[in-house]
C-alpha cells in the first residue's frame, strides 16, 4: 500500500479522524473565546442535553448501514412515550412494565416498517415517511393533543449517580440519561462489530444481491434493523420525558433531520454499508459543541447556518478524499 506523506491528507482519509481534528480545532477556538466552554460542568451538561439525540442516532446509524433510511423514529418515540405515560399515570404502572411496554411498542412499530419495506418492495424512506405521518396523526387524533404533566415521581425525579463541585463552584453530574446513552452506544457498537447479525447488516448494506446469494435471510435482517431502531426510539422517548418532566404528543416532532444529519456527518452513508458508532458519536459531538459554543458566545442565531455549512463541508471533504483514494488505488480503470 502507498504511504501517505501529507498529514492533512492522512487526517481526511477517515471520516472519524477528520471529525476529531475539526472538533479539537472548534473546541480550541471556543475555549479561547469563552472561559466557561472548557469546564467539566459544561461538558456534562452538553452530554446530558444530547443523550436523546445520541440514542436515536445509534438506531438510525444501524438502519443507514443496512442501506435503508428511517425517519419515523421520532413519531415512534412520541407514540411510545405517550402510551407509556398514559399507563403510568392512569393505571399506576411501575417503572419496569412501563419501560418494557415503551420498548416493545417501539419494536412493533419498527417491525411494521420492516414488513412494509420488504413486502411492498418500496424504498424505506417512502415507507417511513408514510408511517411517520400515520403514527403522528393517530397520536394527535386519539389524544387531542393533550399533554401529560403528572408523571409519577419515579419517572421525573432526577437520578444522580455521581456529583462533584468544580473549583469554580459549578456542579458536574453523571445522570441517568448519560448512563443509558453510554449503554446504548456500547450495545450498538458491539452489535455492529462483534455479532453475526451486525456483520450481516454491513454485508447486506454493501451488496444486497450478494448477501442473499450467500444465504443471508433478508426479512429477519430487516426486522432486526428496524426493530432495533424502534426499541431505541422507545427508550429515547422515555429518557426525553424523564428530562422534561412531561409527555407531549409533539415532543420529538422535527428532530428527524437533525438525527439523520449527525449520523451522516459521522460517516454513515445513505448508500449503506459504511460507518461506525464512534463516527456517529463524533458527529453528535461536533454539532453539540457548535451549538453550545455559539450559545455561550451569544450568537446562537447563527446555529442553523453553521450546521448547514458544517454538513456541506464535511461531506464534500470526505467525499473528495474518498474519490482521491479510489482514483489512486485504481489507476488501471478507464
Amino acid at each position: 500500500m502507498r504511504r501517505c506523506t501529507n498529514p492533512i491528507a492522512f487526517l481526511f482519509r477517515r471520516t472519524e479522524t477528520a471529525l476529531a481534528a475539526v472538533i479539537i480545532v472548534v473546541s480550541a477556538v471556543f475555549s479561547l473565546a469563552s472561559p466557561y466552554f472548557l469546564t467539566l460542568s459544561n461538558a456534562t451538561d452538553l452530554i446530558e442535553a444530547n443523550s436523546v439525540t445520541t440514542i436515536l442516532a445509534a438506531g438510525v446509524f444501524v438502519v443507514l448501514v443496512s442501506g435503508g433510511i428511517d425517519i419515523s423514529f421520532a413519531a415512534v418515540a412520541s407514540v411510545t412515550q405517550y402510551v407509556a405515560a398514559l399507563m403510568a399515570t392512569r393505571y399506576d404502572w411501575p417503572v419496569l412494565p412501563t419501560v418494557g411496554l415503551a420498548c416493545a411498542l417501539g419494536v412493533t412499530l419498527g417491525i411494521i416498517n420492516a414488513l412494509l419495506t420488504y413486502y411492498l418492495r418500496v424504498v424505506s424512506i417512502i415507507v417511513t415517511i408514510a408511517t411517520s405521518s400515520i403514527y403522528y396523526a393517530t397520536l394527535i387524533y386519539v389524544t387531542g393533543g393533550t399533554e401529560i404533566y403528572n408523571l409519577p415521581d419515579w419517572w421525573t425525579n432526577r437520578i444522580i449517580f455521581f456529583q462533584t463541585k468544580t473549583a469554580s463552584g459549578d456542579v458536574a453530574r453523571i445522570t441517568l440519561p448519560m448512563l443509558i446513552m453510554v449503554a446504548v452506544v456500547l450495545m450498538t457498537h458491539l452489535l455492529m462489530t462483534r455479532t453475526r447479525a451486525g456483520r450481516q447488516i454491513y454485508a447486506f448494506g454493501g451488496n444486497p444481491e450478494a448477501a442473499s446469494r450467500i444465504g443471508i435471510k433478508i426479512l429477519p435482517l430487516q426486522m432486526h434493523v428496524y426493530g432495533y431502531l424502534g426499541f431505541l426510539a422507545g427508550l429515547a422517548g422515555f429518557v426525553q420525558a424523564h428530562r422534561v418532566h412531561q409527555a407531549v404528543p409533539t415532543a420529538m416532532f422535527g428532530t428527524e433531520l437533525n438525527v439523520v444529519a449527525v449520523a451522516i456527518l459521522g460517516g454513515a452513508s445513505l448508500v449503506g454499508g459504511v460507518g461506525s458508532m464512534g463516527g456517529v458519536i463524533l458527529g453528535v459531538l461536533l454539532l453539540a459543541i457548535l451549538q453550545n459554543g455559539l450559545n455561550l458566545l451569544g450568537v446562537s442565531y447563527f446555529f442553523g447556518v453553521v450546521v448547514g455549512l458544517t454538513i456541506l463541508i464535511s461531506i464534500s471533504v470526505t467525499g473528495y478524499a474518498e474519490q482521491r483514494i479510489s482514483l489512486r488505488r485504481r489507476p488501471e480503470t478507464s
Partner: protein
C-alpha cells in the same frame, strides 16, 4: 510475530477414476421452451474444463442446476463423488463443495478482504458472536495455499477487478470448494491480470480443485484447460480435448455456422485526412501522439488496458484538454473546449461501458436514439413531435438490423448486441464524420460481433473515419485497414494487417 498459517486440508488427492461430478440425462424446461435437453457431462477432480456457448445456449441454466438453484426434469441424475442425487439444493451443493463465482463476483465492496474471504465463517458463527481469530486463520490459510498476496485489511471496493476475482476464489476455497465454476472470469481483465488468474487456477488444480470456466469467448483460458464442452441451443454439441480446438472450429461449434475472418485490403493513400493529432500530449496519459485518420478508414488502436488508449480517445472527443500538441480536423486546427465542440465538429465517441455511459436503459429505443439530435427534430413551435423521434429510431433500427418488437421498447429488454447497436445508432444519428469506438464488442456474443463488424465496414465504405479501440488482437487485425499500437502512453508502432501475422502483432502488444 507471524505464525505460518496451517496447511489447507483437502481430502481430494485420493487416487480415483470416478469423476467428481457426473451428469446423466439432465434436462430443463421452462413452460414450453426447452432450456436443456439430454445433457451427459462429467468433471474430474483437479480438472480445468471450459464450458462454452453463446448467450442463451443453456450455460447458466446448467450451472444453476449444478448449484442447486434449479431442479432438473425427472429422469436426470447428478452424481457427486459416486453418490447419486436426482437434484441438489443450494445448501447441499455448497456442502458437497460446489461453488459458483458469478460474473459480478458477489463481493461486499464495503467490507475488508478478510471479511469477504471468511464471510461463511463469519455468518456461520454458532454463538452469534464472531470469531476474528478463526476468520484470520481461515483467510491466511487460503491465501497461502494459492500463493496469493492481498492486504487483508483493505476494503474490497479499493481493489482492482483482478484482485477482486482472487478474493472471490479465496472465498470459495474458504468454504471448502471442490468444484469452482467461474462465470466469464476474464471478460474484464487485461492480459497481465489474466496471467495472474491463470497462475491461481494452476494452484487450484494442484490442490485437486476442479475449475470450470464458463464463457462465450475463450482466448486466454483455453491454454490451461484439458477439455472443452460446447453447448448450443440447450444441447451438448461436443466435449473435446483442447488440443483439437481452434478459434475457427470453436466458433463453428458454438454457432453452428461458418464465419470467415476476412482481411479487408484497402489502399487509403489518396483519401483525405479526417482527424489528425500532432504531438498530442497529456502528461501521465499519452505523450507525443501523432497520427492521421483518413475518411473511410478503419484505424485500429490497440494496446494493454492502461496504455493510454481511452485517455487519448477522451481527448479526441474533447472530454479532456491537450497539454501540448494539436488536433487537426479536415486539415484545419481544431480546438476542443468540451465534448460539445467535438460533437459539433462531427466527432462521435461510443464508450466501452455502454450500460453506464452510453444508454438510458429504462428509456425506449426512440428516446435513446434521438437524445443527441433533438435540436434537429424540432418543429416550428419549438417542440419535438413524437412521430419524428420514432421515425428516426425506425430508420436506424432497420439500417443497423436491431432486433426489437418496436422502437418504444425499453433498451433494457434488448440483448447485449442489440443494445450496442442502439448506442451506435444514437451516435450515427448525429451524422459524424469521425466515429471513435471503444471496445465495441465487449460482452457481445460471436454472432452479434460479426454483425457489428459488418456495420463498421459499411460505415467506412460510406466515408466515415473510424477509430476502433480494442484489446482483442483478432478484432483489430481482421477489421482494420491500419493498426496503431500504443504502449505506456506512446504510439509504439503501426501495422498493416496482412503484412505482419496476427501472432506478430500479439507478440508486439504483449511483449
Amino acid at each position: 510475530m507471524r505464525r505460518s498459517p496451517p496447511v489447507l486440508k483437502l481430502n481430494t488427492l485420493r487416487p480415483s477414476s470416478t469423476p467428481f461430478l457426473g451428469l446423466e440425462n439432465i434436462g430443463k424446461r421452462f413452460g414450453g421452451t426447452i432450456a436443456l435437453e439430454g445433457i451427459d457431462w462429467s468433471v474430474q477432480a483437479g480438472e480445468v474444463h471450459c464450458l462454452v456457448g453463446e448467450n442463451g445456449s443453456g450455460k447458466s441454466t446448467l450451472i444453476k442446476i449444478i448449484a442447486g438453484v434449479l431442479a432438473p426434469e425427472k429422469g436426470g441424475r447428478i452424481i457427486v463423488e459416486g453418490l447419486v442425487h436426482d437434484h441438489l439444493d443450494p445448501p447441499l451443493a455448497k456442502k458437497l463443495g460446489i461453488q459458483v463465482i458469478y460474473q459480478d463476483l458477489s463481493l461486499f465492496p464495503n467490507l475488508s478482504v478478510l471479511e469477504n474471504i471468511a464471510i461463511d465463517h463469519e455468518l456461520g458463527a454458532p454463538t452469534g458472536l464472531i470469531d476474528k481469530k478463526a476468520m484470520l486463520v481461515s483467510a491466511e490459510t487460503v491465501l497461502a495455499s494459492l500463493d496469493a498476496h492481498l492486504p487483508l485489511g483493505v476494503r474490497v471496493g479499493q481493489l482492482s477487478v483482478a484482485q477482486r476475482q482472487i478474493v472471490a476464489i479465496c472465498r470459495g476455497l474458504a468454504s471448502n470448494a471442490r468444484l469452482l465454476f467461474m462465470d466469464e472470469p476474464t471478460s474484464s481483465l487485461t492480459r497481465h491480470e489474466v496471467e495472474l488468474l491463470l497462475a491461481v487456477v494452476r494452484r487450484l488444480k494442484k490442490l485437486g480443485v476442479a475449475v470450470v470456466f464458463v464463457s462465450h469467448r475463450l482466448e486466454e483460458v483455453v491454454e490451461l484447460a484439458e477439455r472443452i464442452t460446447v453447448l448450443r441451443d440447450g444441447r451438448k454439441v461436443a466435449t473435446l480435448p483442447v488440443s483439437e480446438v481452434n478459434d475457427q472450429r470453436l466458433a463453428e461449434l458454438m454457432t453452428g455456422s461458418r464465419f470467415e475472418n476476412s482481411v479487408p485490403a484497402h489502399h487509403l493513400k489518396d483519401r483525405p485526412p479526417a482527424l489528425a493529432a500532432r504531438r498530442a500530449t497529456r502528461s501521465g496519459e499519452f505523450i507525443d501522439v501523432t497520427f492521421t485518420l483518413h475518411a473511410g478508414e478503419v484505424l485500429g488502436l490497440t494496446g494493454l488496458l492502461g496504455a493510454g488508449r481511452t485517455e487519448l480517445a477522451l481527448a479526441l472527443f474533447g472530454m479532456s484538454m491537450l497539454e501540448r500538441g494539436e488536433l487537426l480536423f479536415d486539415g484545419a486546427p481544431l480546438r476542443l473546449r468540451s465534448n460539445r465542440d467535438a460533437i459539433a465538429a462531427g466527432i462521435a465517441y461510443v464508450p466501452e461501458d455502454r450500460l453506464r455511459l452510453g444508454l438510458n436503459l429504462r428509456q425506449s429505443i426512440a428516446d435513446n436514439v434521438s437524445i443527441g439530435v433533438l435540436d434537429r427534430l424540432l418543429d416550428r413551435t419549438g417542440l419535438v413531435p413524437p412521430g419524428r423521434r420514432s421515425g428516426l429510431a425506425r430508420e436506424w433500427v432497420s439500417r443497423l438490423g436491431i432486433i426489437a418488437a418496436n422502437v418504444a421498447a425499453a433498451v433494457q429488454t434488448l440483448s447485449g448486441g442489440n443494445q450496442q447497436r442502439v448506442v451506435l445508432a444514437k451516435w450515427l444519428a448525429t451524422k459524424p464524420k469521425v466515429l471513435i469506438l471503444d471496445s465495441p464488442t465487449v460482452g457481445v456474443d460471436i454472432r452479434n460481433k460479426h454483425g457489428i463488424y459488418e456495420v463498421i465496414r459499411k460505415l467506412a465504405k460510406d466515408g466515415v473515419a473510424i477509430l476502433l479501440i480494442s484489446d482483442e488482437i483478432p478484432e483489430v487485425f481482421f477489421n482494420c485497414d491500419r493498426v496503431l499500437h500504443m504502449r505506456e502512453g506512446h504510439l509504439a508502432g503501426e501495422f498493416i494487417p496482412g503484412e505482419p501475422s496476427e501472432e506478430a502483432l500479439t507478440e508486439a502488444v504483449f511483449a
